[in-house]
Amino acid sequence: MSVDFLIIFIFVIASLLGFELINKVPTMLHTPLMSGSNAISGITVVGALICARAGESWLAQGMAFVAIVCATINVVGGYMVTDRMLAAFKRKEK
């Protein structure tokens, strides 16, 4: 099995898992769930960090810097906004 085949294989399996992962979500959790998975999509920060090795040129390092900043905002802002939404629910339970 080639590496190409393996990574396409895991992509397909992970996609199927994603389809099955969510089936019933209470309406009040739609927005937090979207916000939470938005934060997870900031995983591309890992790509941006790896990409900081792509080249030594000004341009390469500059682009890596911008990519890291964008992705980190996505991650940190996304998780904090989600936490705020969920904190609002917490208070009213008791």
Binding site: G18, V45, V66
Partner: protein
């Protein structure tokens, strides 16, 4: 070390699953935060960067801005903020692919093209740039639209589809050029062109879609940013990115479908941008024959004798930020002996579930929030139903067999003894149609901004004692 990536992935799966249930949602988000931290630390440990300065500065600046955004965002603005954050994620993925290709051997050595290397790399590079850029520009259009900015597509009908098709053809052409070119100039030029055209396409695709459908659009773009992440994982050969991106991508599609179902819309009609487009607002106030208009005093008098009151909060309440005043009025009525509840339509607010967040933040007790299916049978035993800034979700026209909103689930407020509708004007909602409720004999219209009206009613109710 690589196994830590596997652990991070499992934490993300667990986290997403946790977010789908009320009992576990808070914990779920924590779990996924830990997964993210683990993924970042592991990456830094495995791949030491060329310049720690660039990486650390990037992380610090990004964290600072992220915290600032999260702390300063008002609860009513959260939906558009999620859109904007999502756009940045898309931008990051696109940049990774651009950086990768411009710095690869392909761009630097003459006579070698992307196609000569790994085929998967070659194909995923233009795809990452396309999806990442569409996510970036599309998300920002959604951000501005949810914020209330009006934007119109320059073209209509077939011309519009024609332009989009033309851009699509250009994107395919530039992608082939990028993949097959073996010169530095060819690779750079095609990459830049591909980036620009993809960005323009993102704007044009989202602009015709109406504000009411933006929640679904943001959810869908969120799914795209996951796919962009997965595609960038193919570019740099990271199984972590591929798996997590695919997870977010496909679960986002399912969430979009669930949202569409709650709004009685099909994904196709949302994307084509029919209903709710800024151009769809056609009918005006002249269509209403007899409506009964009332001021805060009359509403207060009505509430004086009411034993049971149901509030129906909608988009207008969120926009006017009247969630605190509505609770003040509810508390006041409760002290006077009335039963007070809130009827929450699945898509009330600016996004499904948004109204729950807003009201929860104003300390509205959990047991007063009733979902549509649980409360609909009770309207007929209710003295006063107060609709605050909602329109389509209480439109009885939805019960008819035909029409743009036929079959959409609605709150049966018209069955209450008296209905008070707080609304700035008789302008139609996003569906762009007339609401027969406003002409009903048991309906009183209060033509004021939600906050103003409720403040007025609070004052008058207090004056009753």
């Amino acid at each position: 070390m690589d196994y830590l990536y596997l652990l991070a992935t499992l934490l993300f799966v667990w986290g997403i699953k946790g977010l789908t249930s009320l009992r576990t949602c808070k914990q779920g988000n924590r779990v996924s935060e830990v997964g993210m931290l683990l993924a970042i630390v592991t990456t830094l440990a495995i791949y030491g960067p060329i310049s720690w300065g660039v990486v650390v500065a990037g992380l610090v600046v990004g964290t600072g801005l992220g915290v600032w955004i999260a702390v300063t965002t008002k609860t009513t603005q959260m939906p558009e903020m999620v859109g904007a954050l999502n756009g940045l994620g898309g931008a990051a993925s696109a940049l990774v692919a651009i950086d990768f290709i411009l710095e690869s051997d392909v761009a630097k050595k003459a006579g070698v093209s992307l196609w000569d290397g790994e085929v998967v790399n070659a194909i995923s590079t233009p795809i990452t740039i396309l999806i990442g850029m569409v996510t970036l520009t599309g998300s920002f259009v959604a951000f501005f639209k949810l914020g209330g900015t009006k934007m119109n597509h320059p073209l209509k009908g077939m011309q519009r589809h024609g332009l989009h098709a033309l851009l699509g053809v250009l994107i395919v052409a530039f992608s082939f050029w990028e993949v097959l070119s073996d010169s530095h100039f060819g690779v750079s030029a095609s990459t830049v062109l591909l980036t620009v055209v993809s960005g323009v396409l993102g704007v044009l695709l989202i602009v015709p879609i109406g504000g009411a459908d933006m929640p679904v659009v943001i959810s869908l773009l969120n799914s795209y940013s996951g796919l962009a992440g997965a595609a960038s994982g193919f570019v740099i050969g990271s199984p972590l990115l591929i798996v997590v991106g695919a997870l977010v991508g496909t679960s986002g599609i399912i969430l979009s479908l669930i949202m569409c179902k709650a709004m009685n819309r099909s994904l196709g009609s949302v994307l084509l941008g029919g209903m709710g487009g800024d151009t769809a607002v056609a009918k005006d106030a002249k269509e209403y024959k007899s409506t009964r208009s009332a001021g805060p005093e009359e509403v207060a008098m009505l509430l004086d004798g009411a034993q049971s009151v149901i509030f129906v909060p909608g988009y207008g309440l969120a926009v006017a930020q009247a969630q605190h005043v509505v609770r003040e009025l509810a508390d006041l009525l409760q002290k006077r002996g009335a039963t007070v509840r809130y009827a929450i339509h699945p898509v009330a607010g600016r996004m499904p579930g948004h109204m729950n967040v807003l009201l929860a933040e104003s300390d509205v007790p959990y047991d007063q929030l009733w979902e549509m299916d649980r409360i609909n049978g009770d309207f007929k035993n209710t003295d006063v139903a107060i609709v605050v800034g909602a329109n389509d979700v209480v439109n009885p026209a939805a019960r008819e067999a035909t029409g743009p909103i036929a079959g959409m689930p609605i709150l049966d407020v018209d069955q209450a003894r008296t209905v008070v509708v707080v609304k700035r004007s008789l302008a139609p909602g996003y569906a762009g149609i007339k609401n027969p409720l406003f002409e009903a004999e048991n309906c009183m219209m209060v033509f004021l901004d939600a906050k103003e009206a409720l403040e007025g009613i609070v004052k008058e109710v207090k004056a009753l004692d």
